[in-house]
């Protein structure tokens, strides 16, 4: 259906130089399941794998033996370890991860002060972007620990796939920014920035106080002052992890379903990776409704269904059991033909939508994964999904 190169998941999994696989894409496309299935497959092909997942569906977590959210990689039991591989999985606890950074970067007194600050508590548990930052932080930690030779990470559920790349930078900007420094020391602010900016700044803080309230601003200032010593650390860490994502040992796998919205997000992401010179493995086109073995076209199928329906409505009343059986078979066949036609149409639409992505990005390797009738509940299910990834067309 396309001229795009085939994405070979097994080649990525088996390439020992690849140490990080990032599964990204918009919400609801099956990123978490994809990450888990890739992790399992890689482990069963002999790699020491850790799957880092963010907010997974409860049953999927259970299928990997993860019942509690404890921020520690747990060994997944029951995998086929004949090839010498192993699988760990963990769920990200963003507050715990944040707390740990604070503790690692300041003396106990200061750390306690920061952890108790209401501003910090909100920032670490509900700031939009903290989750992305902490996912990246955790990824950096796991990578540095060197206990695993492959880390598969599932990006947080956000409105846009790009948030994963942008949020850490955003958080870094706020914790490290010029403005926050001005805010913490308004008295000194005039010196480096001159009279005009100083005047503008007084006006700004005046306005901010009016809007946010003096207490809020004081809380923020206390928090920022306590945090001040760690800013350098934060920026450096964010930069280091970002560089890690640009390194050749990282591979980005963009996940999308053959729907316009998901593929639009995928498109943005692919372009962004290119700009950032981040290594794109390819697109995993998930939940594709394949035509199956039956090649009867939608048009012929509908035509035949109509013929049968006409026969049914014009035919004589079924009076004996043989006639009733014939009528039942005709009714069922007509319905089956309609069902088949709708499948064919769906497949056709999906091909059209996917086709426009592919003509815009002809060099991006693509693998199509058929839609499954059931949800995944256990390792066997994940294994089946992994087999689908690897099956070539």
């Amino acid at each position: 259906m396309t001229t795009n190169p085939q994405l070979d998941i097994d080649r990525i999994i088996d390439d020992r130089r690849i140490r990080i696989v990032v599964c990204c894409g918009s919400g609801g496309v099956g990123k978490t399941t994809t990450a888990a299935a890739i992790g399992l497959r890689a482990a069963e092909r002999g790699r020491q794998v850790c799957v880092l997942t963010v907010d997974p569906a409860r049953r999927l977590a259970q299928s990997m033996g993860l019942s509690s959210l404890d921020n520690t990689p747990r060994l997944v039991e029951g995998i086929d370890d004949e090839a010498g591989g192993s699988l760990h999985a963990m769920m990200l606890d963003m507050k715990r991860t944040f707390d740990e950074i604070v503790e690692a970067h300041s003396d106990p007194t200061r750390a306690a002060q920061i952890l108790a600050n209401p501003f910090y508590q909100s920032l670490s548990s509900s700031f939009a972007g903290t989750q992305e930052y902490m996912a990246m932080e955790k990824l950096g930690q796991l990578r540095r620990s060197d206990e695993w030779d492959l880390i598969v990470v599932d990006t947080p559920p956000s409105r846009s796939a790009l948030d994963f790349l942008d949020a850490p930078e955003r958080l870094g900007r706020f914790l490290d920014g010029r403005l926050i420094r001005l805010l913490t020391s308004p008295v000194k602010a005039g010196r480096p920035f001159g009279r005009m900016l100083n005047a503008g700044f007084s006006m700004m803080t005046g306005a901010m106080t009016k809007v946010l309230g003096g207490q809020l601003l004081r809380d923020a200032q206390t928090f920022v002052t306590a945090f001040d010593t760690m800013f350098g650390g934060f920026r450096e860490r964010a930069d280091a992890t970002y560089k890690l994502l640009q390194a050749p040992g990282t591979s980005f796998l963009v996940v999308a379903t053959p729907e316009p919205d998901a593929l639009r997000e995928a498109s943005y992401f692919v372009e962004r990776l290119d700009e950032e010179r981040m290594p794109l493995a390819g697109l995993l086109l998930n939940r594709v409704h394949s035509a199956g073995s039956c090649r009867l076209s939608a048009a012929r199928s509908v035509g035949a269904a109509e013929t049968l329906e006409t026969m049914i409505s014009n035919g004589p009343l079924a009076t004996d059991s043989a006639a009733r059986d014939t009528l039942a078979a005709q009714t069922l066949s007509a319905a089956a033909l309609r069902l088949h036609a709708s499948r064919m149409n769906l497949g056709e639409r999906e091909r059209r939508v996917a086709g426009s992505f592919m003509s815009a990005h002809p060099a991006v390797p693509v693998v199509e994964v058929p839609a499954l009738p059931d949800d995944v509940h256990d390792l066997a299910g994940l294994r089946r999904v992994g087999e689908l990834f690897a099956a070539t067309q």
Partner: protein, 353 residues
């Protein structure tokens, strides 16, 4: 007078949430259209700057301004063939902060200066919860807003205030908010709790309280959009439990989106079909190689049967939540304005609007 009762008479702010990929924005847009009948004026708000509404209505990206975007269905049967108006607004936290500065402090000039210096972006980010309060604040402001020339009574409107525009004098008869996904909805709406750790007193707190007065009142209902799949249904049930746990908040309906039309009866899907009889029927319909074809179609039927069975299980779970359930048929061709009108009609027929 309204032509008939709906499940949500008295609700003026409809919050629509759902797991990513369930078609939350589509349902919000269809609901807005459904509410915009018989001359009623509805505001459709997009809370997370994705410009999904603009795309649905085939318009260029929406600015931070209330623009008329569509005309609601006319109703010939009640003798007044006047469609209502759907207005749309895309809110971003920065725009909402500027708006807030202007509205409450007459500080737009300062706001623009702040914005240039990155201060607005700074404020909406550094103060967790502030961005959400600003967005919900804009939605509740639009909900409470009076038509020009009518003063708002202090303390908002009593529940059960007559809804029809002429009597109520509201700027909008209803507001539909395309809210953040289910995973974030409780936090997003529970604004007072969200800012309370930061602002015990002061203007932000007062603002949050006034927002909560609308959100935690019978004027507001939170509708959930789900598909008949396990994860979206689970998230919906979790989200409903979360909203129910917040005192004063009202869970609305559950919209099952993209439901497959029933092409076969459950009876037809029960057992393996008689392949020989099917092949004979297919031959009669003028098809060839019907033995193989019958077997292939039977496989497809079996797959479909499994799917239907799974969907039925999810539907049972949804119904057990005890909220009104609406079902919207899958529109395979994709969503355009005509499709939105079809969905709006389905919502109206089922009493959602």
């Amino acid at each position: 007078m309204t032509a008939r009762d709906t499940d949500w008479d008295g609700v003026r702010l409809h919050v629509v949430t759902g797991k990513g990929g369930t078609g939350k924005t589509t349902v919000a847009a269809a609901l807005a259209l459904a509410l915009a009948h018989a001359g009623r004026k509805v505001l459709l708000i997009e809370a997370e700057g994705r410009q999904g509404i603009a795309r649905l209505f085939d318009r260029p990206p929406l600015p931070y301004a209330e623009r008329k975007i569509a005309i609601g269905p006319g109703e010939a049967d009640d003798g007044r063939d006047a469609g209502g108006d759907v207005y749309a607004l895309a809110i971003d936290p920065e725009g909402a902060l500027l708006d807030y500065l202007q509205m409450f402090y007459n500080l737009r000039g300062v706001g623009n200066a702040l914005n240039k210096l990155g201060m607005v972006d700074f404020a909406t980010t550094i103060a967790p919860g502030l961005a959400d309060v600003l967005v919900t604040g804009k939605a509740t402001e639009a909900t409470r807003r009076r038509q020009a020339g009518t003063a708002s009574p202090p303390g908002g409107d009593p529940p059960g205030t007559p809804r029809s525009k002429a009597q109520s004098g509201f700027a909008y008869d209803a507001v539909v908010l395309d809210a953040p996904p289910t995973g974030r909805i409780g936090r997003f709406l529970n604004v007072t709790a969200e800012v309370s750790g930061l602002a015990k007193v002061g203007p932000v707190r007062a603002h949050a309280d006034s927002v909560a007065n609308v959100i935690k009142s019978p004027q507001t209902a939170v509708h959930f959009v789900s598909t008949l799949e396990e994860m979206p249904v689970q998230e919906t049930l979790d989200g409903i439990a979360e909203i129910r746990a917040i005192p004063g908040m009202q869970v609305g309906g559950i919209v099952i989106n993209m439901a497959q039309p029933a092409m076969l009866s459950r009876e037809d899907l029960k057992g393996p079909p008689d392949l020989a009889a099917m092949a004979a029927a297919l031959t009669a319909a003028g098809l060839h190689s019907t033995d193989a074809l019958a077997a292939e179609l039977a496989d497809e039927l079996a797959g479909h049967a499994r799917h239907v069975e799974l969907e039925d299980r999810e539907r049972t779970d949804i119904e057990a939540a005890g909220q009104p359930v609406y079902e919207l048929t899958l529109i395979p061709e994709g969503i355009d304005l005509a499709a939105l009108h079809r969905l709006a009609a389905e919502l109206r027929d089922q009493g959602a609007a």
